[in-house]
Amino acid sequence: MALPPLDSPQWQTSFRAFLWGARSIGATVLTLVLFATYLGIGALAHDSGFSLGWTLASTAFVWAGPAQIIVITTLGSGATVLQAAIAVTVSAIRLFPMVVSVLPLMRTEDTKRRHLILVAHLTAVTLWVECYRFLPQVPRNRRIVFIHGLGLGLVSVCLIANTIGYALAANLTPLFAAGMLMLTPLAFLFSTARNCRELADVIALVLGLLLFPLAALLNSGVDILVSGVVAGTIAYGVHRARAGVVRARA
């Protein structure tokens, strides 16, 4: 599916622009990845004892797969609310740079902060990636409404996937239920690996995977936090050291 050219009359109304945004969910393979991920989250929520309404509310109001999985797995395994909240707070830090970098793409001189609230809410890895791809093809004054369409379209797909995953987990054979739960780590691993832009990101990913089993031995309740901060800081240290070497050579 191709978007209409920038000067097309298709962009003259907000409503049309919204629909083009919503239709664009069909133009990206990431929709399929999201569908698989949220199928898995639905199954995970079911197996961890949460209701379907709770699962859908988490998708609509949290709208960040990793945070949802942290809440489900930590609370499901008996951690306290505080421990879960801390882990989510740290995992969600990455949303800050995403929001910061995405908003200038759609700001105009008349844009008020409140016009961007829904865009900020909808911002997550997938939308962040797609903004860079789609927005250059959208007239600047229609970008916010286009993103509303795209983002709400993606949320809808994920709500449907949650419902299907939840229902299937209740009725599938253990073999296929296991297959659905496995969708989450696979989809996250590969989408994270694809998003690695710098060496620091690659090291953070690899060390983060390797250090978690070690941190889990501490059984602190915030194991993910411990391994994440340690692995991330080492990765940043390597990034700094390399930057120093490059500067020394130059």
């Binding site: 079911h46 949460f50 969600a92 740079p97 889990a216 993910i224 692995a231 990765a235």
Partner: protein
């Protein structure tokens, strides 16, 4: 938990442990976004920690599997992730190809084991 909503207490916990800690960062980004350089050193560190946390979550599900996934032997889960990763790289970083390959290895292995 019964019914569609189930336990209201669980919903309250979702807001305290999930929604608020998550939305804080988005709203901070909206509020202070103008003044921060996307390539600043602080954000490089933040991104690295966030990536490592995500990696930890992935490892947790594979190492300490929930529900039905626990019925699959350890080595088969690790093997499925490794096979998926190899295909992901060979298929020029296709997420979809990697996921399908990992699933085929795990489901095939489990089926074969009986």
């Amino acid at each position: 938990m019964t019914g569609f909503i189930g336990d209201w207490h669980a919903l309250a916990i979702l807001f305290v442990a999930g929604v608020i800690p998550n939305q804080i960062w988005r709203m901070l980004g909206l509020w202070f976004g103008g003044g921060i350089d996307e390539n600043s050193e602080l954000l490089v560190w933040v991104r690295a920690v966030a990536t490592a946390i995500l990696a930890g979550i992935i490892a947790q599900i594979v190492v300490q599997p929930p529900g039905a996934l626990a019925s699959v032997p350890d080595w088969l889960r690790y093997g499925a992730v490794a096979a998926g990763f190899i295909v992901f790289m060979l298929a020029r970083k296709s997420i979809f190809a990697g996921v399908i390959a990992g699933e085929i290895v795990m489901l095939g292995g489990k089926y074969w084991l009986g």
